[in-house]
Amino acid sequence: MGDIGLLMDGFANALQPIYLVYALIGVTLGTAVGVLPGIGPAMTVALLLPLTLTLEPTAAFIMFAGIYYGGMYGGSTTSILLNTPGESASIVTALEGNRMAKAGRGAAALATAAVGSFVAGTIATMLLTLVAPTVARLAVQLSPADFVALMVVAFLTVAAMLGTSPSRGLASLGLGLFLGLVGTDSLTAQQRFTFGIPALADGIEVVVVAVGVFAVGETLFVAARLRRGPVPVIPVSGSWMTREDFRRSWPAWLRGTAIGFPVGTIPAGGADVSTFLSYSAERKLSKRKSEFGKGAIEGVAGPEAANNAAAAGVLVPLLTLGIPTSATAAVILAAFNSYGIRPGPLLFENEPELIWALIASLYIGNVMLLVLNLPLVGLWVRLLQIPRPYLYAGILTFAALGSYAVGASTTDLVLLGLLGLLGWAMRVFGYPIAPAVIGLILGPIAEEQFRRAMQISQGDPTALVTSPFAAITYSVLIGLFALSWWLRRRQSRLAAEVLGDDDVVPATEALPAGEVVDREGSGEPQPTGVLPVALLDPPAGTTPDDERGDRR
C-alpha cells in the first residue's frame, strides 16, 4: 500500500468520533495554555502530558498533536493584542501585528495570522507526509555509528545555537546529559549515580525534569521578580480580511512556509529563526517598505506562516530519526518513550497505524484551530485576566499533580522541587533550558547507539567516522555550523536593526519605558472603551483603507 493509502487509513482512524473529541480537547487546551503569559510551547506540552497518561497510544498522540499545534497557535494571539516581552518566536508577530491592532486593524492581523498558520500548517504537514516516509526508508539503512554522528550534530547545534553563548549552551547540555545518566545502565544493569536511592534506579522521569525546569523554574523565577501592573489589550477592531489584505497575504504565507519548513528540520532552527528570516524576506520583497514597522500585513502573514511550518518541520527528524531538535520536540519524544514507542526509522514500519493517525490528526487539528481560534479570540483574551498569583499557583499545582501522577511517589515531588531550583538558577544566570532537556532525553539513546557501534567495530573508534554517511554528516556539521552562525548573525543584526529602529515600539528590555515614542496619540479612528471580549463585531467606520496605513 502506498503512503497515500496509509494516510487515508490514518484519516479513517483519526476521524472516528472519539478521536475527534480527543483532538478537539487537545487543540483547545493547547491554545488556552499557550495563550497564557509565561507559558511557552514546551511548557504547555510538558504540563499537559499527564492528561494523556492513561489513554491508549493513538488517542494520546492525537490529543498531543492538538496540544502541540494549539500551543504554537496560542502565542500569536497574545502577541498581536498585547505588546509584551515574551518568547522570541512571537516578537516579530508583535512588531507588525501589534501596530496593525493599534491602527484599528487587529481583526485583519488576527485573521491573516490564523489563516496563514492554517495554510502553512497544512502545506507543511503535506510536506511532512511526503518527506517523512522517504527519510525513514533511507534511515533504516543507517548504522549505529551513523546515528551517533546524527546525535553529535543534534547535541552540538542545539548547545551552540540555543541561548546567548555556546559555552552556556554546552553547560546546559552537560547538565541534561548528567541527569540522563542517573539510573540503571540498560546494557549491563549497573546502577549509575543513583546515590543509593532506590527510586532513582529507574532513572529520573523525563516529565518530572521537563515540568521541573520549565514550570516550577518559571514559577520561582516569576515569584522572585513579579511584575505588577497591566498592559493594555487592544480591542479587536476593523474588518476581518479585505480582498487587498488577502492579495498581500497569500504570497507571504507561501514564502513563510517555504522558509519555515526546512528551517524547522535542522537542529536549533526552530520557530524563532524562521520568523526572523521570513520577516526580513518580506521586508526586502515588499513594495511598501515604509509600512514595515507601522503595521504591514505581510510582516504578520509571513512570520506566522513560517512559525507553523517550522513546527511541522521539527516533526521530520523527530519521527524519522528519533532526534528532537527543540525542547518541545524533546518533550514529545519523552511522551513516545513513555508508551514504549521509539521514534526512529522503524516507527513507520512498526507502528504504521499510530503514525498515520497522528499525521492525519495534524491536518484535522489545523482545521479545528482555524475554526476555533478566530471566533474564540474573546475567550482567549479573557484568559489574560487571570491574576498572576492564581495563574502561577495553578501552574505549580498542575506541575505537582503531573509529577506525582507519573510515579505515585513523593520522591518525584522532591526531585521536582530541586529541578525547579535548577531551572530558576538557569534562567537567572542566562543558561538556556532547551539543551538540558534535549540532552536528558537524547543522551541515553546516544549512549546506546555509541556502545552498539563500538561493539560492531570491536572497539575500534575510527569506525565512528569512517562510514560514508558519518563522514558526510561530520562534514555537513561543519558546514551547518557556518550556516547557523550566519543565520544567527543575520537574526541578531536584523533584531538590532528592526528592534533598535525607533520607528518601532518593540517589546524588549532594550527600550526602557520612558523612551518609547508616542506615535499613536490621536487621529486614528480607535474604537474606544470597548471590551476586547465584546468586540467581535467591528464598529462601523473603523476600517481604515489599506493604502492610508499609518503615514501621517
Binding site: 497591566p230 493594555p232 485576566q385 498572576r388 495563574l391 472603551g529
Partner: protein, 129 residues
C-alpha cells in the same frame, strides 16, 4: 468638598462618570475621578488605556467642572483606593458603576462595589449602565 467617581472603561463606569459630572455641577463641588488597577493580571479591562483615559480627560474638560483625574496601579485594588480617596478628599458623594455578578463570582473574587458601599462613610450613588 468633593464628588468622587470610581471610573472603569466600561458602560457602567462611563455612566458613573456622567452622573458624577452632573452631581458635581449641581452641588457646585469639585470632581475627583479615579481609575485604579490592582495590577495583578497581565490584562485588566477595568484599567483605562491611554486613549480611553484621554477621552475621560476630554469629557471632564468639556464639562467645565473643577476636577482632578487620576489613574494608577495600586496593589490594594480599586475598592480600597476609592475608599481612601473619599476620606482624603472629604467626599460628600461617591459615584460608582455597578453590574450584575453571579453569586459564585462574588464569592470567589469579591465585589468592589459592595466593599465601597460598606466602607465609604459618605453616601454612595450606584449607577447602572
Amino acid at each position: 468638598m468633593t464628588v468622587v467617581v470610581g471610573y472603569t472603561p466600561r458602560p457602567q463606569g462611563r455612566a458613573a462618570l456622567r452622573v458624577g459630572i452632573a452631581e458635581a455641577r449641581a452641588r457646585g463641588e469639585d470632581l475627583y475621578v479615579l481609575n485604579v488597577s490592582s495590577g495583578a493580571s497581565l490584562s485588566d479591562p477595568t484599567y483605562a488605556t491611554e486613549e480611553q483615559w484621554a477621552e475621560v480627560v476630554e469629557e471632564l474638560r468639556a464639562s467645565g467642572v473643577e476636577h482632578r483625574a487620576e489613574r494608577h496601579v495600586d496593589g490594594r485594588g480599586g475598592a480600597e483606593e476609592v475608599t481612601r480617596a473619599a476620606a482624603e478628599h472629604d467626599a460628600t458623594l461617591v459615584v460608582i458603576g455597578i453590574r450584575h455578578r453571579t453569586a459564585t463570582g462574588k464569592m470567589l473574587f469579591g465585589s468592589d462595589a459592595q466593599r465601597i458601599l460598606l466602607d465609604v462613610d459618605c453616601p454612595v450613588l450606584a449607577v447602572k449602565a
